[in-house]
């Protein structure tokens, strides 16, 4: 049984997971033969990574019912994003996915994971995504979580990045009654790079525990965490952002920033930005700020004829926009913007 104090997750036990019978790999894209993309057949635990907790990972290892394995051979570059899409419904209420992405030297790809649900189902998601980015490879992972308000979401993500490799995460957290997301990036090689941009939107009684960690081991490694969030109604969130400079990470640079807009006196927002350092020749920065919408901006927009709600919505959207714009799919961008708008209309 799992209990998280800060966002009030009490005595969670994992449900029995039936088979996930739907197709989740988008088959329409014509992949070159240098790509292998198939349903995950076997799992492997080669590195220590506990994600949201040992129990979560162990459960996935033993019970996964879905997940994709993608292997990009040396030098393969794909322009079209690969889509992995899970839609949970009454027949398929649970997704326990184990995803493996191996990017060989110099390869490049963008993978979009989309988790959504039918409006009626109480969906359960607990997933693990592992990324192995070899020398000079570039991997972009976009994760969109928009399960309905009676669902639960748990997602653990880890990347191991080698010399001059680069992993860019984009995480869009919009749904679920309770959501735990962990992204850990090991910058193992020289000049390896990890970037994480996230937006979260908490409304109603939504609760979120977001943990982002960059572990610098290689010299000259670079990391950047950029988080923008909005909390309204009685939403609660915990943000844990960690920059960890291990010995040997000479001349590395890391920065993290969280900005949260609070729109209701009943929200609860915890931020725990950690900065850990055992190497002197590095630069680490973190900044966190929180507040209401800037009154001057609001006044300006309202003086141009916008209602207060529309003005607030515009300010929130403009804070999200730079991150949403990095999603390489017109359809998805539109859907996400519509979802943000819908939440505001309900508010």
């Amino acid at each position: 049984m799992i209990t998280w104090k800060r966002i009030g997750l009490d005595n969670l036990t994992f449900p029995d997971v039936p088979e996930y019978s739907k197709d989740f790999i988008d088959g329409e894209v014509n992949h070159p033969k240098e790509i292998k993309l198939y349903k995950t057949k076997e799992v492997f635990n080669d590195y220590e990574y506990h994600g949201l907790g040992k129990e979560f990972i162990e459960y996935i290892n033993n019970n996964y019912n879905s997940g994709a394995t993608l292997i990009l051979s040396r030098g393969t570059k794909i322009n079209e994003p690969i889509k992995i899409e899970f839609t949970m419904d009454d027949d398929n209420p649970s997704v326990v996915d184990y995803n493996i992405i191996v990017a060989e030297e110099g390869s490049e790809a963008t993978i979009i994971f989309d988790y959504k649900s039918d409006h009626a189902v109480s969906a359960f998601h607990n997933g693990l995504t592992k990324v192995y980015a070899k020398e000079n490879s570039i991997i972009n992972i976009i994760k969109i979580q928009r399960l309905n308000d009676s669902s639960m979401n748990f997602d653990s993500n880890v990347a191991y990045v080698e010399g001059r490799g680069k992993v860019n995460w984009i995480s869009i957290e919009l749904g679920s009654s309770i959501s735990g997301a962990n992204y850990t990036t090991f910058l193992n090689g020289e000049a390896s790079e990890g970037n994480l941009s996230t937006i979260y939107l908490g409304d109603g009684t939504r609760r979120m525990d977001l943990g982002y960690t960059m572990i610098h081991k290689g010299p000259r490694s670079i990391s950047n965490i950029d988080t923008k969030g909005v909390l309204m109604d009685q939403a609660r969130k915990v943000f844990r952002g960690n920059l960890d400079f291990k010995k040997g990470a000479r001349l590395s640079k890391g920065s993290e920033e969280e900005y949260v807009i609070l729109l209701d006196p009943k929200v609860k927002s915890d931020s725990i930005p950690g900065l850990f350092c055992e190497e002197d020749d590095v630069m680490g920065n973190h900044a966190a700020s929180a507040g209401q919408i800037d009154n001057n901006k609001l006044f300006y927009l309202m003086s141009r004829g916008l209602s207060e709600r529309d003005a607030k919505k515009l300010i929130v959207e403009s804070s999200f926009r730079p991150i949403i714009n990095n999603i390489p799919s017109e359809t998805l961008r539109k859907e996400i913007n519509a979802e943000v708008e819908r939440r505001f209309l309900n508010a």
Partner: protein, 468 residues
């Protein structure tokens, strides 16, 4: 080419490490039993409620585990610590009457001189008891009380009873319970309404006995519209056995009053410094903490401000210097519990020679505390890569009508800054010196003069090659 590193000297402990022969009038047995507690209480001729309070605290102490979330305390054997040592001296109001050897120690630490030159009152504690206390007559005439806790308990029992360990109850944590059980010595200050104590008062705590614990209690009450600057200094020579310091500081800042509380803790490197400090601030009152942590083997120290009145204010300025064999886990906690409260935290740390500096903080805004503002800024400078430096500030917001900012930086002196200064015609060495001094300057300028001088001596910068 191997870059030369600037050598920053360790804290010069010369004057602190001189130990006197260990003499005492009364000493408790090692460890902790109800019998020892009752004996301490009897030695001090205390009222029954205090003896009961001590015994109750001992019960709580025995029921609580040693905290494991921070520093490693496994080397600390509480059964080996002597909790009470009465020095071979009576409390005096004149330095001439203090026994020669003890007076010498304080002379070396510069206390009598500081008293003559810049202080309105001085208390000096040696092991478990205060041996010297004095306050200027004009303050006495205005009703200011400044004395040791034992005298306060005897002469101002009602006030002590009303406030004693209400802000840091023994149930708070294991070392608060320990303090409640074996507290001894410390300072009591009461500033009546509308009195402005414009020259600082200072207490100095000196631990001489090997293997002993020091558990002084500081209780300061600043009534409506008053001002006080209180300074505390601490030190102990180094012994081979571990010493323990579990003091407790309780500060009550009433409506519209202001308290400035400065401490430099410079314990020797066999000391576990597990001190608890807390302040509660009423309407429009203000607390200013100035805190320096240099010595000790392990420190866990997080002064807390509870802003419970509208418009209450807290400012924290702190510096931590962790060197070889030291783990200094320090920070500050601020609780915004009323509307229009403001707080600012400015914390700096330097680590070198394998020292480990940890900033652990909490900023909490209660649901009713609307229109509050807070900023937290942490900067860490590492002088080599054997050292460690960590920052973990928790920001917990339960209200939307606020303005909160937090910033932290870690790293070493940037080549760009040096290059910039050199391009303005300043030599490389001078440029680096300017940067290190600039780093600690916001702290030194807040310190009382004699401590600012001490700090500059402590951080003696030899400029050779680059910092880093």
């Amino acid at each position: 080419m191997e870059r030369k590193k600037t050598i920053i000297d360790d804290v010069d402990r010369g004057i602190y490490d001189i130990k006197n022969e260990f003499t005492y009038r009364y000493k408790s047995e090692k460890g902790l039993t109800p019998e020892i507690i009752m004996e301490i209480s009897k030695e001090k001729n205390e009222p029954k409620w205090m003896t009961d309070f001590r015994l109750k605290s001992l019960e709580i102490y025995n029921s609580k585990p040693i905290p494991t979330w921070g520093a490693d305390l496994s080397d600390l054997n509480l059964d080996e610590i002597i909790t009470y040592i009465r020095p071979d001296a009576d409390m005096q109001n004149s330095w001439d009457d203090v026994p020669e050897e003890i007076k010498d120690t304080f002379e070396r630490l510069g206390l009598p001189q500081a008293e003559r030159e810049s202080l309105a009152g001085v208390g000096a504690q040696y092991d478990s008891e205060v041996v010297y206390h004095n306050i200027r007559q004009e303050l006495v005439d205005q009703g200011v009380i400044y004395t040791d806790m034992e005298t306060a308990l005897r002469d101002y029992e009602d006030i002590v009873k009303e406030y004693f360990m209400t802000l840091v109850p023994p149930s708070d944590h294991k070392f608060a319970a320990l303090h409640g059980a074996v507290w001894s010595g410390g300072s009591f200050v009461y500033v009546p309404e509308g009195v402005n104590v414009d020259i600082p008062l200072q207490s100095y705590f000196r631990l001489n006995a090997p293997g002993a614990g020091q558990f002084e209690h500081t209780l300061i009450i600043v009534e409506k519209g008053s001002f006080l600057h209180f300074i505390e200094g601490c030190s102990a020579p180094k012994y081979k056995v571990n010493n323990l310091h579990a003091g407790c500081v309780e500060l009550f800042v009433k409506e519209g009053s202001r308290l400035r509380y400065s401490t430099i803790e410079n314990w020797s490197k066999n000391m576990y410094n597990l001190n608890t400090k807390r302040c509660v601030v009423d309407k429009n009152g203000s607390i200013e903490w100035v805190s320096g942590s240099f010595g000790s083997k392990v420190s866990m120290l997080y002064p807390m401000s509870i802003l419970r009145g509208e418009g209450a204010k807290s400012e924290f300025t702190g510096i931590t210097f962790a060197s070889k064999g030291q783990y200094l886990d320090t920070g500050t906690k601020v609780i915004h519990a009323a509307p229009y409260t403001t707080s600012s935290v400015n914390s700096k740390s330097i680590s070198k020679d394998g020292g480990h500096a940890f900033y652990r903080g909490l900023l909490k805004v209660a649901p009713n505390a609307h229109n509050c503002k807070a900023t937290v800024s942490c900067e860490s400078l590492m002088l080599d890569n054997d050292s460690k430096s960590d920052t973990l500030p928790i920001i917990s917001l339960n209200n939307d009508n606020i303005d909160i900012g937090h910033e932290a930086k870690i790293g070493r002196i940037s080549d760009e800054a040096i290059f910039y200064l050199m391009s303005r015609g300043i030599s490389e060495e001078e440029a680096k010196a300017m940067i290190v001094r600039g780093f600690v300057e916001p702290i030194t300028k807040e310190l009382p003069l004699e401590y600012a001088v001490e700090l500059n001596n402590l951080i003696n910068i030899e400029l050779e090659g680059s910092i880093g």
